[in-house]
């Protein structure tokens, strides 16, 4: 296993900007997954005060600290929220076998209207999640919508939704605004998911490996639409991503198909014309 921290590429951060989550399949070693299942079965870990630095919340050698120290997890997290994020809160979600209800589709916390910052939620799955176990439902590209908590509960299914199935040791990193929900567990197996929310403590600007920031693939990621977008609203989503990418990449002129540039165009009149007006 590599030990060097693995920062994300620009293309990967653009993908996160477009879809609102990033999936790291099977990155946690088997021994840690087995350890986690034992820990989680014993009960939820003690709560951590909001805004606690990672080293204080999770002492050296603790399971959470080792999880966050895995090179791929550490690199992805630093690429999105920067070094030394604060732990907002953490929790173990457990779904017993044949647990009959699904969470309504929701976004966590209050409507968050920050246009130039975001929190990241880590979701860790210590065991294989099959379709019957009802993993997390995630709606790609929903994170920039302004809705409050479970007001989206009426929506049961959306085209292109992701009904998570994954190998043991998978980690999801999600934008705080993503629409998601725990699905009904129809299996005979107890399902665990460990969530940690992080607040950035530095400006979220060029925190990743930016060597490919001018790659055409960045634009391709940012212009992606999802099957549940209505025709007209899809353009607004891309517009809003352009604004976020301008902030993340410190490139105020970044655009796709001239959309943000066109609707902010205010040509200055020539000086001579102004003086005779």
């Amino acid at each position: 296993m590599p030990t060097t921290k693995q920062l994300l590429s620009s293309v990967e951060v653009a993908r996160f900007t477009a879809q609102g989550f990033l999936r790291l399949d099977g990155v946690v070693p088997r021994e840690m997954n087995e350890e986690a299942l034992g820990l989680f079965a014993a009960g939820a870990p003690p709560a951590v005060p909001y805004g606690t630095p990672v080293p204080v919340a999770f002492p050296e050698g603790s399971f959470a600290r080792r999880l966050l120290g895995l090179p791929s997890v550490a690199g992805a997290l630093e690429s999105l929220v920067g070094p030394d994020p604060a732990v907002d809160h953490h929790f173990v979600h457990t779904r017993p076998p044949h647990e009959g209800s699904a969470q309504p589709l929701h976004a966590d916390a209050l409507i968050d209207v920050r246009a130039d910052a975001f929190d990241v939620q880590l979701m860790y799955y210590p065991q294989e999640v099959t379709a019957g176990m009802g993993g997390t439902l995630v709606v790609p590209g929903s994170h920039l919508r302004r809705t409050n908590e479970s007001d989206t509960g009426r929506y049961q299914n959306l085209r292109g939704q992701t009904r998570l199935t994954c190998p043991a040791g998978t980690v999801l990193l999600l934008h705080h605004g993503i629409w998601h929900g725990g699905r009904r567990n129809d299996s005979d197996t107890v399902r665990h998911m460990y969530k940690i929310r992080f607040n950035p403590t530095v400006p979220q600007v060029r925190l990743w490996d930016t060597r490919d920031v001018d790659s055409p693939a960045v634009r391709e990621e940012l212009r992606r639409t999802f099957p549940w977008y209505e025709q007209a609203t899809a353009r607004l989503e891309i517009h809003n991503r352009i604004l976020l990418w301008r902030s993340l990449s410190a490139d105020p002129g970044f655009d796709i198909d001239h959309w943000a540039t066109r609707i902010t165009n205010r040509p200055a009149a020539p000086a001579a014309q102004r003086s005779t007006a």
Binding site: G100, S101, A102, Q103, P104, L105, G134, L137, L144, R145, R146, T147, D151, T152, G153, R154, Y155, Q156, N157, L158, R159, Q161, R163, G181, R183, R184, P227, W228, Y229, E230, Q231, A232, T233, L236, E237, H239, N240
Partner: protein, 91 residues
């Protein structure tokens, strides 16, 4: 004694036109014989709103077209094109 129960289908469409494609859906069953829930299917029950009419669902509500609030023209939020259908089932 025979009674009548309502089954409700909610379709979210691509545009405000009833014959545009389904992008989201939800079902509620007043007969209590099924328990539709969040994340229980990946394929919509119909491809368009009119396909639901053709299958006997009765449309009873469509979202009005509301202009964006000034200053919020680029904000995205709830799905806009919501259509409610019903079927009445005798039990």
């Amino acid at each position: 004694m025979t009674t009548t129960r309502q089954q409700v289908l909610v379709l979210y469409l691509d545009t405000s036109a009833l014959d545009s494609k389904v992008v989201g859906w939800a079902r509620y069953d007043g007969t209590g014989t099924t328990r539709p829930t969040t994340g229980d299917s990946d394929e919509p029950p119909y491809e368009t709103g009119t396909a639901a009419l053709e299958d006997g669902w009765r449309l009873f509500q469509a979202s009005p077209l509301v202009p964006p609030y000034p200053g919020a023209e680029h904000a995205t939020s709830f799905l806009k094109h919501e259509f409610f259908f019903e079927k009445l089932v005798r039990q």
